[in-house]
Amino acid sequence: MEHPILFISIILEKLGLPIPHGPVGHTFLEKLCEPYMTYTWLVMAFLFFVSKLTLGNLEMVPGKGQNFWEIVVGGMDDFFAENMGREMTDKLFPMIATFGLYIAIANLIGLIPGFMSPTASINTTLACTIIVWIVHHIIGFRAHGLNYYKHFIGPVWWLVWLLFPIELISNFARLISLSIRLFGNIMAKETLLTILFMLAGAFFAPLPIMILGVLVSLVQAMVFVLLTVVYISQADAHAH
């Protein structure tokens, strides 16, 4: 299959940096120059500079840029507070909102030719997921101490042998479903777009998929944030 043209990789190659030709690089420098790494930095730089440019000087009467961010951040804040309480929201808002914004931008950036979604690599999504998974257990331990194990043994003692493995399996399933779902959806979108570009790019064949891609990107970012919020609120709540 024809490799998609990724302009950051081309620029880096012109600069003499080693670009890995397989999915994984061998040396440390090659690993740093993998497309999903470079495009992750691009998304980070984009988020940083756009918020810096639009929020450089906060005003009492917001302008266009500040208005946009007030809607985005305010909307997320309300949504979190509704689902996991004000106190938890104040504590964890920076982390979850960053995940939401980063994943949304990272998904959407792949729709532009020459760009790649960093989330189309399992490394990125698994990293995000592991952070979320560990954090929700830490929240559970901090809220309940060692009694946190009661979340895993079910309501009655004589069903422990049945419910403990089930709870354990469904807890580990979170790890898989959260990471592979995001990765699979975005990779499918990317692959489909690449193939359609190759087959009939001149006849605008990828256009309908791109429209669907916008929806998929936003929904997947939303799913990630929603599930993070739900897991954290479940770990924080009392056992059944």
Binding site: I166, I169, S177, I180, R181, V219, V223, L226, L227
Partner: protein, 86 residues
């Protein structure tokens, strides 16, 4: 985003992952069973742990499915109560 679109995206987010979570639970149960059979007990207990793991995986899948449904119902109840209280 307008209200309808927002609700649409939220509903998709709420129910769009049911299928994947179900499949992931079964895969983890089955994988754990196969691991116990082949690696831990060197195939002596085969195929029993595979079947037990599969059963637990399916049960875990249904458990997470019902959890999603019940969570939604609880949220509805809570919002109903709050509406009455206001």
């Amino acid at each position: 985003m307008s209200g309808v679109k927002k609700e649409f995206v939220q509903l998709l987010a709420n129910y769009g992952h049911i299928g994947f979570t179900f499949a992931a639970s079964i895969l983890i149960g089955l994988g754990g069973g196969i691991y116990l059979d082949q690696k831990v007990f060197d195939g002596r207990t085969s195929p029993w742990f595979t079947f037990i793991g599969l059963a637990f995986g399916i049960a875990a899948g249904y458990k997470s499915l019902f959890e999603i449904l019940w969570r939604d119902r609880n949220l509805e109840k809570k919002s109903d109560k709050e509406d009455q209280g206001d």
